[in-house]
Symmetry: C2
Subunit: 333 residues, 2 copies
């Protein structure tokens, strides 16, 4: 805990009025956070997509060390990433904060400033929320709402044999960033260290890419547990086998400078998690349209494997031989 | 904490599959909780109403003492109460659980059983959620979704001078229940004690009444902070003064057996909170329709005061003299 005597904290109502109500100013149905609930019109022909993700001090972030604005952004972005992977455009979010005594006005101001920046960046508004005190850990739960054309929400269950497996961006950076934070700084350029840590602290939800995959992708999710573990979710729900070619997994230059590009380094990247890239499947006929979507979104997309009949996920080396995978991703508990 | 060595707990995925996925079986857009997000169709002509409330161990319940099924029900019901006060019919909810080590399979099974019972009772489904571990307190955050005819959501800001102030059910029971739990059992019949404690543990959201007030009530909210504190919210947001006649505040026989019916006992009831009744305002012309709505909903509704020009909340005694109110309700922090 960063301080021994509790810092000053505004009363709940003052905090809401001063720090959070301004974040809801553009959302008519948030009623300036003066009500118990928000109302929201989902446009005709659209369905609502809704998701919740919680981040907890000392599990998902380090409240004593990480800047509060980064924590706010991470809490929001992991939810926007879920919406993006469903093809949904974000509308807004609800914020549930459980605050221990050490969280004071200064921390909360910085937290709200982080939300404000990201609201502008991702065109979302705060719709409502709840603040409670806690004797336990700082806990931030965000419910994000988005919309998508009715019936077109991308899901995990649609992958079919013959589909190609794609992933956006690069894999492994966040895991490397966390490793650097937890262990010693490696002997690589500062810029590379900063990049990898930033990828851990501040995921970039692929909000521009996801909606462009509607009608193209057969299954999609965001990579949070680890690429192989998440592809295993698609394989399981779709009832298929997913084959990934290890050397096709996209690694950043920064990751390679940190970990190299051996099979072991690739395996680390593919099992680390927190990437918040979109992994998806699509038929070969969609290749050109996917390339165009990636271009419009400004996000690289790489083919990394294929969908077959069967079950599970297989990682192949350059010779097409399976690579043993111990733990495919983050074990929740 | 109820146990010294951590009890067995299923892995997250096994827990979701075994305990929580069955709770989503009737919600098509929950995809059996196998996806990162749920999708939901809001019927044409309806707007979505959404609210979030968090309950935290040792703040809102006592994880070591309270039965897990009651905790689950309370977490859900406080949210359904918010929807009801907005006139919304509930659709479903998202559940975010942060679990400390002491929460094991047995606790979780009982927790899920409580949700199952209330899902049937209130016709709602689990739509999605998130589970995380925590080094801190058991924290349960529920986001509830409902719908109401577009533009008709009941709010806090519509009370007008000349309106009557109403409240449903009885006030003060939950506060008395909490007092009994925290202090010694009073010398009143066991049935009365049980009733008051049950009112604290298990609020009864007025889901049948709320939607029947659409088009009748000018402002509404659920009583959670304390009757007078919550009426002060209506007064503030509506820009009016609310006058309450103390002896009209509805008290249960059980409450009176515990606390009597002195001005001081009434004041305790009106400032205790956790009632989860609906307080609302409506013009005199709506009296008959409100009585009919109360009858259909099977919930008594009482006139307790009036709306005037001005600001604040005033409590009057039998002679029409203002009663000094120290602390009008629960102070959050």
């Amino acid at each position: 805990m960063p301080s021994e005597t509790p810092p000053h904290r505004l009363s709940e109502f003052a905090m809401i009025a001063k720090l959070f109500a301004p974040l809801s100013a553009n959302a008519k149905g948030a009623y300036g956070l003066q009500d118990d609930a928000a109302s929201l019109n989902v446009p005709a022909g659209q369905e609502l997509v809704v998701t919740v993700d919680t981040i907890v001090d000392n599990v998902h972030f380090f409240g004593g060390d990480d800047p509060a604005d980064d924590i706010a952004k991470k809490a929001l972005r992991v939810n926007l990433s879920d919406l993006a992977a469903k093809g949904a455009r974000p509308i807004g979010y609800l914020l549930a904060l459980s605050l221990p005594e050490w969280v004071g006005d200064t921390w909360l101001e910085q937290f709200a400033a982080g939300l404000k920046e990201d609201q502008r960046r991702y065109a979302v508004d705060l719709l409502g929320g709840d603040t409670t005190s806690t004797e336990g850990s700082l806990t931030i739960s965000i419910t994000a709402l988005g919309s998508v054309e009715t019936g077109r929400t991308l899901r995990r269950g649609g992958a079919r044999p013959g589909d190609i497996v794609f992933v956006s961006g690069t894999i492994g950076d966040a895991g490397a960033g966390l490793a650097i934070l937890v262990c010693e700084a490696p002997d690589i350029p500062d810029e590379a260290i900063d990049h990898l840590i930033a990828r851990y602290h501040l995921p970039e939800p692929r909000t521009e890419l996801g909606p462009r995959l509607l009608g193209l992708a057969t299954a999609a999710l965001d990579v949070s547990d680890g690429l192989l573990a998440d592809l295993a979710h698609i394989a399981e729900v779709s009832g298929v086998r997913i084959v990934v070619e290890a050397e096709r997994i996209p690694l950043s230059d920064e990751y390679v400078s940190f970990a190299g590009s051996s099979i072991s380094a690739i395996l680390d990247a593919a099992t680390a998690g927190d990437d918040y890239e979109i992994a998806f499947t699509a038929p070969p006929s969609a290749r050109a349209a996917i390339a165009a979507a990636a271009q419009s979104a400004g996000v690289p997309v790489r083919e990394i494997g294929r969908v077959e009949e069967g079950s599970g996920v297989v990682l192949l080396d350059l010779d097409g031989k399976p690579i043993p995978v111990g733990q495919p991703g983050y074990v929740h508990f």
